[in-house]
């Protein structure tokens, strides 16, 4: 008929001919109707060949009508940057201008060179690659592996950054219903009417589930599908309900935490620019109702993979929903009654059904009688043992199971059903244990592990009427369980019709006389045949997990939704064991492939691990700072002036600080307020230093070890009051030091009355260092006597600075007279600007972290994490003085006494003087005593810090060297690829060795 495809049947289906949609497939233009998927629209145009299989490159068609599809994967391209591989044609709705391409073929879909693999397929048996490609050795890397890689893979990965964006939302509800078929809708209605807050999701575009193809069912007197639309509309109108279509529940995690992926714009021709492509819902539910339905299985027989061979329910959906006939002469091969219903529907629509081949000897049921009444030839006790055709099925070979002549029946489509597999994926992901139901040959939910319940087809409830009553009961009791004042819902649904189907077949069907090379596919996409599975067992793969991995059965993009049970049955038969004894492989998240972008959500670009800025950041940007990443912070690294490179800028900054003064943003250092009557006692245990006698108003440099006795962090601690300390940590250490303290407080010292509060973000910290530091800050300070006598080095005072409350620290990380001005963070920038204005007029500069590093190295001050690496004790670092001699306990005291920590030959922190006076050593370079020894060399240390020191006029370095304290004055070597650099071991203080400047 129409432009929407010659296989579209007028008056059949639910789509509106008035809404045509144009799209292309492999460059050719097609049209379909609004509501079509790529699959239904292509079939409407008579196109069945849509892809090639993974290994043998066999022509493949459309097998299903939903997310379980293993074959019909296509690439969809909106534009160069919006190209998505491996899109299921049975899920992707068409929109005007959609551009789809086939995959895994070259040069074209109908002529694919890779198909030679099919001819050579006897070689490519399961696991063949483990047995060969070993000779010659180098060939694996250079010949075989690249060849395998190019042959494998499906679509093309995108090559350009994705311009689309993705959204994320957290949600809580009383009841989450997964699946919007008749069971899910009924349960959601019951729960919602009882007063529960409900979220209902379904992965399809429209609600209704099996009612899409189940044309006979009537609910509340309406055709089933119409009832479903009305039910969805009722739910959507309720305040306590959120319903989400095109939304897949993909992962079921601990404590009823479920991940849902919503496809927001994938079906739209022109998505709004601000609309996300997908949205991740992270739902925490009081109870989860799983109503995920069941998936029909294919029959396993020779050449069961030709385009045009598909699941019976898919053919029925294409017909009853899309108004599309899958062929004009449709054969049926089944072990289940449901295929009869499909055949009858097709027959009613005027399609020729040459035969229904039923593998069962004597199937009983109304469907069979009805088919016969329609005049359809029913061959029971027969099997399809092969098919003909090339790019499309052309015939089926039918043989009686008891033996006898084969009959070749021409067909242009073949529909099949081996029965239905309940979708226990979500239940299993919740860590529930499935149980085998021998009577119906299926795994059903057994023991529950979380607060969830399965209903409808996924629970093995076959009859429509029972599904509905089970669903209403589940909805009501979920509401009762999760809501205090749940009322009883008045939901009643009248049910008529609906299939009552039985029959199932697991594993391979009878192969008749056809004993040659048989390809009876179990897993279509990965080209796993029944024979492969038998071979795996033959080779000793007795665990189903081994069978899976050896054959790759169930590891394709459909994750075995069709193949797992067949594979299991074939393996069980080959092993001579019962199916439940062999056991299922684990169901793992995600249920269907889930877009990275959806999982990532907003966390891209600026929002990927958002950068932390200090309150002074903008002023630093204005001053031309170059920034470095330190942990999550952006820190000013150096402040180049016009024409200066990093080296020149740092040299100038270093000189200026020592000659005049410099100002530095120290805000990123961690700060913890430690308060309580036991605060001093607590710090005394946490730090190696003594803290009990530290006077109010005094500062102390403290070292913190882990239990093992190695330096963990350091920082200056100020005593603000008897029971109050201002602790500082390294920038990177802020969170973990707080955690470390909390950990000890809660587990080891729970008797102590101490409270810890992170104040890193509360204080802005401005360091002013240098001979003119006092003069610069003096006019801003009120209430504090700045004189050396009243306010000596290592003290703290409270007062005001620029009229703002301050904790003013007299301390130095440069060896100069220095102050650290703590003011409330909100005032940081104004104070910074004020001090800078005055300082600048007096010759002060701004300096960044690089200059800070150089200046502290000139004084031999360590940086934890650079000059220590978690293997350095306070003694190794030359900081033995900071370990309280009379202390009987602190964290690390026992660790420090371990034999190796007091042994000779430990690596100790020393200075290095480069003999040539000009080479700046590379940080991380290794140190040896004998540069001429052969590799592997005996390394006795490494360079931890190394800089050009403008103030010393030569390079300086700190290093950790075995027995370093004993090697003063000795010559050692730093071997570089081209030469060994000669160095002399020195002390660690390179500038102002007497240390007078600090007290200026």
């Amino acid at each position: 008929m129409s432009s929407a495809g010659e296989h579209r049947i007028a008056g059949v289906g639910r789509l509106t001919p008035a809404n045509p949609v144009r799209f292309t497939f492999d460059g050719k233009a097609y049209s379909g109707l609004q509501g079509d998927t790529i699959a239904s629209a292509l079939i409407a145009s008579g196109v069945h060949l849509v892809g090639r299989s993974f290994k043998y490159h066999r022509p493949r068609g459309i097998l299903s009508d939903g997310p379980e599809e293993p074959n019909a994967l296509v690439g969809v391209r909106r534009d160069a940057a919006r190209a998505t591989p491996n899109v299921r044609a049975t899920v992707q709705e068409i929109y005007d201008g959609l551009n789809a391409v086939s995959q895994n073929r070259w040069p074209s879909l109908s002529f694919d060179v890779g198909a030679v693999n099919d001819i050579a397929s006897p070689l490519f048996s399961a696991g063949f690659y483990y047995k060969t490609f070993m000779w010659p050795k180098v060939a694996w890397e250079h010949v075989y592996e690249p060849f395998i890689r190019n042959a494998a893979g499906l679509g093309q990965a995108p090559t350009e950054p994705d311009p689309d964006h993705y959204a994320a939302q957290y949600a809580h509800c009383d009841v989450l219903v997964i699946g919007g078929g008749v069971a899910g809708l009924s349960a959601a209605l019951a729960a919602a009417e009882s007063g529960a807050r409900v979220i209902l999701c379904d992965e399809r575009a429209a609600f209704g589930g099996a009612l899409r193809f189940e044309a006979e069912a009537r609910l509340d007197g309406k055709p089933g599908y119409d009832w479903a639309q009305d039910a969805a509309a009722t739910l959507a109108a309720m305040d306590n309900v959120r319903i989400l279509s095109r939304t897949t529940a993909f992962g079921y995690y601990a404590q009823n935490f479920v991940g849902l992926a919503e496809r927001v714009t994938e079906h739209l021709a022109a998505p709004a620019a601000d609309a996300p492509r997908e949205r991740l819902w992270q739902v925490r539910a009081g109870r989860v109702i799983i109503a995920a339905g069941a998936i029909e299985r294919h029959m396993v027989f020779a050449n069961n993979d030709r385009p045009g061979i598909m699941l019976a329910s898919a053919a029925r959906t294409f017909l009853n929903h899309h108004g599309v006939a899958v062929g004009r002469k449709v054969g049926v091969y089944t072990a289940n009654d449901s295929a009869y219903a499909a055949a009858i529907d097709l027959k009613k629509a005027g399609i020729d059904i040459p035969a229904i081949v039923d593998v069962r000897d004597n199937p009983q049921g109304s469907a069979i009688d009805e088919a016969r009444a329609f005049g359809i030839r029913v061959l029971t006790g027969h099997a399809v043992t092969g098919t003909g055709g090339k790019l499309r099925v052309a015939s089926m070979i039918v043989e009686p199971n008891k033996g006898g002549a084969a009959e070749i029946i021409p067909v242009d489509a073949l529909i099949m059903s081996a029965g239905w597999t309940p979708s226990v994926h979500m239940f299993s992901q919740s860590r529930g244990k499935v149980a085998w139901d021998a009577a119906t040959e299926r795994f059903l939910p057994g023991t529950y592990a979380q607060d969830c319940v399965s209903i409808g087809a996924c629970n093995g409830t076959d009859r429509l009427e029972e599904s509905v009553s089970e669903a209403i009961a589940a909805g009501e009791s979920a509401a009762k369980a999760t809501r205090k004042r749940a009322k009883k819902s008045k939901v009643k649904i009248a049910v008529e019709g609906g299939g009552d189907w039985t029959g199932s077949m697991l594993g391979a069907g009878p192969n008749g006389a056809n004993g040659k090379v048989i390809k009876a596919f179990v897993d279509f996409q990965n080209d796993v045949t029944a024979k492969d599975i038998r071979l795996a067992v033959q080779e000793g793969m007795h665990s189903i997990e081994h069978v899976k991995r050896f054959t790759t059965n169930g590891m394709a993009t459909d994750q075995g939704k069709l193949s797992n049970l067949h594979g299991l049955a074939i393996a069980a038969e080959a092993l001579g064991r019962e199916i439940p004894k062999v056991g299922l492989t684990t169901f793992r998240a995600p249920y269907t492939p889930t877009t990275f972008g959806a999982i990532v959500g907003h966390a891209r670009g600026e929002l990927f691990d958002p950068a932390r800025h200090t309150p002074m950041h903008e002023s630093e940007v204005a001053a031309g700072a170059v920034f470095e990443d330190v942990g999550p912070w952006k820190r000013a690294w150096y402040y180049p002036r016009a024409g200066e490179d990093m080296h020149a800028a740092v040299n100038r900054e270093c000189r200026t600080v020592r000659e005049v003064a410099g100002m530095f943003d120290a805000t990123t250092l961690g700060k913890i307020e430690v308060v309580g009557p036991d605060a001093a006692e607590f710090l005394n245990l946490i730090y190696t230093n003594p803290f009990l006698k530290l006077g109010v108003g005094r500062l102390r440099y403290g070292i913190m070890c882990r239990e093992d006795g190695f330096i963990y962090d350091d920082g200056v601690v100020g005593r603000m009051a008897e029971d109050r300390f201002h602790v500082t940590t390294t920038t990177g250490g802020a969170p973990r030091v707080l955690q470390h303290m909390e950990d000890y407080l809660q587990t080891e010292f729970p008797h102590m009355k101490v409270w810890l509060t992170s104040t890193t973000e509360q204080w802005a910290v401005i360091a002013v260092q240098g001979p003119k530091a006092r003069e610069i800050i003096e006019p801003f300070v009120e209430g504090i006597d700045l004189s050396n006598e009243a306010f000596p080095h290592m003290s703290v005072r409270e007062g005001t600075f620029c009229g703002v409350p301050t904790r003013l620290f007299r301390m130095s990380f440069t060896g100069e007279t220095g102050f650290e001005i703590n003011v409330p963070a909100d005032y940081g920038r104004q104070v910074w600007e004020k001090v800078y204005e005055r300082g600048k007029s007096m010759g002060m500069c701004l300096y960044g972290t690089e200059t800070m590093h150089v200046l502290r190295a000139e004084k031999g001050y360590i940086i934890v994490g650079q000059d220590t690496d978690g293997t350095v004790t306070p003694y190794d670092a030359g900081l033995g003085w900071a370990v309280g001699k009379n202390k009987t306990d602190f964290v690390g005291i026992r660790g420090l006494k371990r034999p190796d920590l007091v042994a000779d030959g430990r690596r100790q922190l020393v200075g290095l003087k480069v003999k040539d006076g000009k080479t700046v050593l590379e940080e991380g370079a290794q140190i040896v005593a004998d540069p001429n020894q052969p590799v592997p060399m005996k390394m006795i240390g490494w360079v931890s810090s190394s800089y050009w020191s403008e103030n010393c006029g030569r390079p300086i370095a700190l290093a950790l060297v075995e027995g370093g304290f004993e090697r003063m004055g000795r010559t050692l070597y730093v071997p570089m690829p081209d030469r060994a650099i000669e160095v002399e071991v020195t002390g660690t203080v390179f500038f102002d060795e007497e240390g007078g400047r600090i007290n200026g």
Partner: protein, 417 residues
Amino acid sequence: MRRYSGFALVREAMRGHKGWGQQWSSPEPKKEYDVIIVGAGGHGLATAYYLAKEHGITNIAVLEKGWLGGGNTGRNTTIIRSNYLYDESAGLYDHAVKLWENLSQDLNYNVMYSPRGVMMLAHNVHDVQVFKRHIHANRLNGVDNEWLTPEAAKEYCPPLNISQSARYPVMGAALQRRGGTARHDAVAWGYARAASDRGVHVIQNCEVTGVRRGGNGQVTGVETSRGFIGAKKVGVVAAGHTSVIMEMADVRMPLESFPLQALVSEPVKPCFPCVVMSNTVHAYISQSDKGELVIGAGTDQYTSYSQTGGLHIIQHTLDAICEMFPMFTRMKMLRSWGGIVDVTPDRSPIIAKTPVSGLYVNCGWGTGGFKATPGSGHVFAHTIANDNPHRINTAYTIERFNSGRLIDEAAAAAVAH
């Protein structure tokens, strides 16, 4: 054992593959063995193989509670490299890499060792310092590892985003060209087949539930779900469950067990040539022969024996992957899973004798033991056979946590200051 080769494959192809025998036998347990290995992961199976091959001990059983290779061996992201910092580590991991290079031929099983290069990204000054330290130490230890500028890194791995506007711009990279990947199942199966061929019993579905000791404290065997099995020596190689088994012999291990997750994408045509690791943003990625992007995440924050980790860990990892490779946001996650890793305080393994005579332990490989599989099995076999460690694993004792003589690879890659 039927040898594998291209010729054998062609011959079998012509007769329907009827001639392939079992890759390993599935015998009933005997009453007693000279050596019992607990855990049929790669390390356990390799131990049995080298005991048989190099020490002439063939009366061995490898006991596995589930299916062989089903632990971390079959769950890991298969990154192989040896550019570790300390001499002890370089010795051990490089020993393994040398064995990897000939492993397919040695086992007559294609383990698909693919030295495609492992590149570790430096994102800040601290990373640069740490990587350079590794590169210098590696050079003097004879282990290849080289520094790449961001441009050279991009040339080696074209999908890499080296834009300076990235949240953590790439400042350079350390590349080990001999690093790469191998096929994890093939490693377990290849060792199982080769060990079985030498008479080793690999006994699956056999969980060890107790360790029996004689009057003098000496090990006499193990209780299992299939009854008592006697042994003169017992080697425990049970990864995340090592503490549980050692507890049965009253040995407390310095181990913590954490879930570690990984995931793969759908398969696509070759688009990613090597292995890239970033410690700063926490992500590891490579592409398998099948075409899947293989992505490793970090450990959960809390100890647990549950093999399902949280979604937020996966999220964090994919955030990082998409930040480094912004073209991958449209790719889809196909499968995710977790394994239980056994972590020591210094992140280096324990391969050693224990305080209990006749009991040996090989554990603590944490998040990175696959790469060591051949080397680990090789030196552990030596340790069991001689009741004395091999030169290469002398330092990997349990006592080092008492003495403080740590091999602190974690600290060497310490966090930013």
